[in-house]
Symmetry: none
Subunit: 201 residues, 4 copies
């Protein structure tokens, strides 16, 4: 009977907050700043979020979930390890790297507001399985201990994201494309394979 809670409004707040938090930092963005750009009263923010912390938490958590869940679904649906690797390389990493705001939040404020180890561990398990299966498919012995594998994934993944972030925010003269082709090179070399883009559907 009364007005309904408007999910669209929540998304507008979340999007604007994410943009500003990534750009200026969490503490240098006031709640007033957030609503100024989207022409909503301050009070509205607190209809949809418990407090300012909850906004950034939601931005990181939901952004990451979206990415991770669709990656997981795509991997589950694809039996070939090589094609799964292609999916990661050609579809999902570009998706993530395009969302520099999310990457920035993840790296700069993520630690303070969400539990990153969960997210990285889940990702490591998923990618680790692809790597393992790919090695089996290619008849290669896996020469990395599990500990080394996690380290490798962490270094590559965080390093890639940080490189993307710095190339956007500082003046690092590298692009998302450079990082992607570097990762491609590493994988292709390691597995003596040639990864083609997956045919779109």
């Amino acid at each position: 009977m009364a007005r309904e809670r408007d999910e669209g409004k929540r998304q507008v707040i979340l999007a604007e907050a994410k943009r500003l938090f990534a750009q200026r930092g969490f503490h240098d963005t006031s709640v007033q700043d957030i609503v100024k750009g989207i022409d909503l009263p301050v009070g509205s923010v607190y209809t949809y979020f418990n407090n300012k912390d909850a906004i950034i938490k939601a931005a990181i958590e939901e952004g990451w979930s979206d990415f991770h869940d669709s990656l997981e679904a795509a991997c589950a649906a694809e039996p070939s390890a090589a094609r799964r690797m292609s999916l990661i390389l050609y579809r999902f990493l570009p998706l993530l790297f395009k969302d520099v705001d999310l990457v920035s939040l993840f790296l700069s404020e993520g630690l303070r507001f969400t539990s990153l180890d969960d997210k990285l561990e889940r990702l490591a398990r998923l990618i680790g399985a692809v790597v393992n299966d790919l090695a089996k498919e290619r008849g290669l012995a896996v020469s990395l201990s599990p500990r080394q594998a996690v380290t490798a994934l962490s270094v590559f993944f965080l390093g890639s994201m940080d490189t993307i972030r710095l190339s956007r925010m500082a003046g690092l003269p590298l692009s998302e494309k450079d990082v992607l082709s570097f990762i491609k090179l590493i994988i292709e070399t390691a597995f003596s394979i040639n990864l083609e883009p997956p045919e779109e559907n």
Copy 2:
């Protein structure tokens, strides 16, 4: 930038600020917080620094300089590329990784207060030269374009630092040692070389 009486006092302030900024974040550490722990009056901070920003700037800039300068000096003094690589691997990276507070500041607040691209570019040049020379020494053709080389260095370096940071601050179950032995493995594999610790002097 004040260069007044008591350099010792300046260092005490800088050390405490670095510790707190890394631990709680820049914005969640007040100038009052900094002096509370070291029993100095607030005013004294402004004898040694122009403002709060200048403190974190100095912490990052000077910490990085110390590291970089001594690395540069050591490299300049060592003609053998292999031994230079050993120095980096056995002496300088451990030094840097031990200083988790500096690594944290560099990654989390560095972007906002200092120019990271300078620092990374300088480092890339230095390490790039070592890599190149090592390839030459080992009679290997360098298959990476300069662009790819910078990307590789950036990914490895930032990724390593971020992994160190997260293993300390989040619960990532990896240690500084894991990261170092992973980097060693990569280099030794890439150059078919066995890197021994440099004899101490």
Copy 3:
């Protein structure tokens, strides 16, 4: 003042508000708090009350009226002054003292929202008459001036209520029973009388 559909709903709101106002204070109880406990929408409060002030006003005014009106009726129906005094002592004061929430509101917020002097004056008149009649019945000269009588009633009445309130809310180690037997003692001494509980009907 609304006198709408559902008188039951109004009473539920009033009861919950009274409880919370007495417990936490008027300002530390939001209108949201009131409806939370009784599972009603906020808006409904404004169907039955013009604003938040009107709720506490009603709680005090109606609570006091109920008490006073039935006291008045009982006194009117009882010709004997001694038995009227017994009624007050054994039936009405216990009734009032049991309703600590009302007593608390009366004393702490009453002043701000209702006119206490009216209530006290009306009560003084009523009890004053009982006292006077009792003195006449006992053949005692009344040695108090009317002014002193009002003072005495005010001191005794407010003091009793405050003692009850403090024994409930602070840790005063006294009970409602102590206050009642103290008042009994005073009256019995003053009038050389023995007040028996009125036979119930």
Copy 4:
């Protein structure tokens, strides 16, 4: 070397706060309201008090302490119970009753911010001793149990204060003088004594 903490400023804040809290109530007086009247910046309040609660706490606690301590000292210095009673009646109660703001805070907000039972108990002990000694001096058997004595004191004391408060804030047509002469009457009757004002020194 720097400016000293100014006790005078603290007292100015405290006095203005006490006045406003008593007049309008704690919640209807903002910290801004307090400083407006005394032309100080908001920040200053927080130099002298941790938060708003601490102001009212100090007003009640310190006001009460002042009253109680000087009463205690005067009683300790006076061996005659009758003269101690005179002191209470002619010097200290008038002092307390004159400070209606303190009385108001004590009764209306005291409960929420300080521990009233402590204060009342200490006072009951002190006055109880005077009453006991006076009874002994007059050769009277004390017919009240200790429990009744505390009740009596609590009722009289709180009742007197509340009567004072209501006569000021609501329109109760009684004055401080009425309450004092009523108390005098009670004591003089109870102890068959004539209490003269103590000669001033």
